[in-house]
């Protein structure tokens, strides 16, 4: 009897034990960890406590956003799918996706210390979110005191900021640039005929003496401690954007007439002083190897070799100064490449590349110039305005800045738009290069194309990127390593650049390309002049106007 009881107890225990373990396992796998118990944290704004739900998590405190937005200003809306919340702070939309540490502030992506989550009273955010939104945009300071569990919100003292004003009118478009020593906190209001830049937490020190504006599209610009007023002429519209290092608030003002995307070059180049300096850019370099051929040859090696050989040929045949963006196997930043060209006042920029593709069968040559998409809507507008002006206006229809001073202004203030005013000429150069390559090499003509290539964006001169063949294609890889074939290729490039120079200089163009020769045959070479070795390019000087483009705001650290 006693044994039976023992057996029954054991069986019952054996049944219950796994169930207890399973139930425990279920309890120890919660969907979300509960917040640690609150120690009565509080939020204090200007010495007064405000009711804000606070959750203390292992990664730091989270604060209810709704009451903070109500106290500091900001409208919250939830998108239709309920997946993201948009908070309007100043003139920026801040998009928050609960559960994601990535947040967008305007066009800028920021990464938070921990993701905002749904909690007591709705969406809760970490303190760095508050600093990067209300702090950076509206001038609030947020101090979290863990020992007392208090978040102290205070208004930063108003700063006195200097501001300088530039107004440039160039080929039908006026650019107004407000330059500040550091980023101000502001909002832009658009009133009929007037744009008001209102300071939120800063005071401006107007320039002395005040700048007098005489411009066909901008009637006046007045700078007061609390605001800048830009009065526009009738029938114009303005687009605004910012540039960094130093911080500049830029307004492109142009007639309200329809804007068209540039598609065809002008018949004759205008206002070009001639081709005296050419910068060749051997693609890639260093750890950035570029395309890799089946035999293992790397694009960066061949592009440097071709650029060196082409530099010698151009120097001897055209009598121009030829510089390379790199002379060895080093990593050169894209923007530095065009900065070298700008700093040395180059008249042409030719980036030399070799291609590769996914899949089979790609072969041939192609030449690129910048696509309007590359520099987005505002660059397209600027380029379109330029082309429109070139097509519609006689050269002396209205006072414009001289080519040199205008170019300098552009380099100074509008790096991001540098290439947009040269796209028509870039296309002309691309057409000539592609034509000569086709005639000389008789490869597949992949044509003249446009793409948002980074290395072309900052060039303040006609600029192209030429793809001289696919090293992913075994046949073309072999050809490109053949010195005789490369000579043909170099001759074609030299002829194309020579023809472009002749057009620009107003000289007679050299004769068209000879018929293609069989591989290995000695190609027709221009008379050799010995071609002095190209001098090293002038390195971009820190702080010099076009030496480096401004760092773009909003890059994730």
């Amino acid at each position: 009897m006693k044994d039976r009881r023992i057996r029954a107890t054991l069986v019952l225990f054996g049944l219950l034990l796994p169930m207890l373990v399973a139930a425990q396992g279920e309890r120890t796998q919660p969907q979300t960890p509960p917040a640690a118990p609150s120690r009565a944290p509080m939020v204090v704004l200007s010495g007064r406590e405000i009711a804000v739900p606070v959750s203390i998590t292992p990664n730091g405190p989270l604060f209810g956003l709704s009451p903070i937005a109500a106290a500091l200003g900001g409208e919250m809306t939830t998108d239709e799918s309920g997946e993201s919340v948009t908070l309007r702070v100043g003139d920026r939309d801040v998009v928050i996706a609960p559960g994601s540490a990535i947040v967008t502030v305007g066009d800028v992506i920021i990464s938070l210390s921990q993701p905002p989550t749904e909690g007591e009273g709705g969406l809760q955010v970490p303190v760095d979110f508050l600093r990067k939104t209300y702090g950076d945009l509206l001038g609030y300071a947020f101090e979290w005191q863990p020992e007392t569990a208090r978040l102290v919100i205070s208004r930063r003292g108003d700063r006195e900021l200097g501001v300088s004003l530039d107004v440039v009118h160039l080929q039908g478009m006026t650019t107004v640039v407000l330059q500040f020593p550091e980023e101000p906190r502001y909002r832009i209001q658009r009133l009929p005929g007037t744009i008001v830049v209102e300071m939120i937490a800063d005071r401006l020190t107007p320039p002395s003496p005040p700048r007098v504006v005489q411009d066909p599209l901008v009637q006046n610009v007045t700078i007061e401690p609390q605001q800048v007023r830009i009065q526009l002429a009738d029938g114009v519209q303005a687009a605004s954007y910012v540039l960094a290092n130093p911080f500049r608030l830029v307004f492109d003002v142009h007639p309200s007439a329809a804007v068209v995307v540039p598609t065809r070059p002008t018949e004759q180049p205008r206002d070009l002083p001639g081709i005296r300096t050419i910068v060749l850019d051997p693609g890639h370099g260093g750890s950035e190897v570029g395309a890799i051929g089946p035999s293992g040859i790397q694009e960066k090696e061949l592009t440097l070799q071709i650029a060196r050989e082409l530099a010698g040929k151009l120097g001897s045949t055209l009598g121009v100064q030829v510089l390379l963006t790199r002379y060895d196997d080093s990593v050169i930043n894209h923007d530095t490449r065009t900065a070298i060209a700008n700093q040395n006042k180059a008249d042409l920029f030719v980036s030399i590349h070799l291609n590769s593709s996914l899949g089979a069968g790609a072969h041939g040559t192609e030449t690129y110039f910048l696509s309007p998409q590359a520099s987005d809507k505002r660059a397209a507008q600027a380029a379109a305005a330029e082309n429109l002006a070139q097509e519609q206006e006689p050269a002396t229809s209205e006072p414009v800045a001289t080519a040199d001073s205008a170019a300098q202004d552009l380099q100074l203030i509008l790096w991001d738009l540098a290439q947009s005013r040269h796209m028509a000429e870039s296309q002309r150069l691309a057409n000539l290069i592609q034509r000569e390559l086709n005639q000389a090499l008789q490869l597949k003509d992949r044509g003249v194309k446009q793409a948002p290539f980074r290395v072309l964006m900052g060039a303040a001169m006609p600029a192209v990127l030429v793809e001289l063949g696919f090293i992913s294609n075994p046949e073309e890889e072999k050809k490109l390593q053949d010195p005789a074939y490369r000579d043909q290729l170099l001759d074609a490039l030299a002829r194309a650049i020579g023809r472009y120079k002749a057009l620009v200089d107003g000289e007679q163009a050299p004769p068209p390309a000879p018929a293609a020769q069989a591989p290995g045959a000695q190609p027709g070479r221009p008379p050799s002049g010995g071609g002095a070795a190209p001098a090293p390019p002038q390195a971009p000087k820190p702080g010099a106007p076009p030496a480096r483009p401004p760092a773009r705001p909003g890059r994730p650290a």
Binding site: V11, G14, P18, S84, N333, A374, P452, F453, F470, P556
Partner: protein, 188 residues
């Protein structure tokens, strides 16, 4: 004694069998989240939708592969599904996957202004795969075209690599700004 011992062993084995079964059943209920799909997690019903995915193809182009995907209604989840389908590779001969095996989708964001942010992750590879300009465009625009031309709420795309926005993936395309589709690259 022998009968008692045999009964005891039999009872214990039976108890372990039943208990183990209960444990497995409860555990599968508790840990079921790891195998759930995005739409199940978001609580949204999935529906079959016809998509046109763009994959790299011969000749340096990208080509459409019609595909029916089971997707939730939320635009952001549709974007994620499209990219996941791209990264899984094509089902049509002659097309190739845009990124090497092992590349996965991290965070996906869709801003109200129509900008889709796609974080491509390739653990243990700091740099995206190298290549020529055509190769880079095939990779990038297979994603950009597939998203923008299939999800009406997305009008442009920002690609991140391992959580960071880069100037470029392979040294050509400017990826510091949102990209819009490239129809010139599509095989006719």
């Amino acid at each position: 004694m022998n009968r008692r011992a045999a009964s005891f062993v039999l009872g214990l084995a039976l108890a372990l069998l039943i208990g183990g079964g209960l444990w497995w059943w409860l555990s599968s209920r508790a840990g079921g989240g790891s195998g759930r799909t995005a739409q199940e997690e978001s609580g949204q019903p999935a529906e079959k939708v016809a998509f046109q995915l763009y994959f790299p193809a011969d000749g340096g182009l990208i080509r459409i592969e019609p595909r029916e995907l089971s997707v939730p209604s939320a635009p952001k989840e549709r974007v994620r599904k499209v990219v996941e389908a791209l990264l899984a590779g094509p089902q049509t001969r002659g097309l190739v996957r845009p990124f090497p095996e092992g590349v996965t989708v991290g965070i996906v964001q869709l801003s109200p202004d129509g900008t889709a942010y796609i974080d491509l992750r390739w653990p243990e590879h700091n740099e995206p795969p190298p290549g020529g300009s055509t190769e880079e465009m095939q990779r990038v625009y297979s994603v950009v075209n597939s998203i923008v031309l299939n999800v009406p709420q997305a009008s442009r795309v920002v690609l991140l690599w391992n959580g960071f926005q880069r100037e470029s993936f392979s040294g050509h395309l400017d990826l510091s700004r949102p990209l819009t589709p490239n129809q010139a690259l599509v095989a006719r």
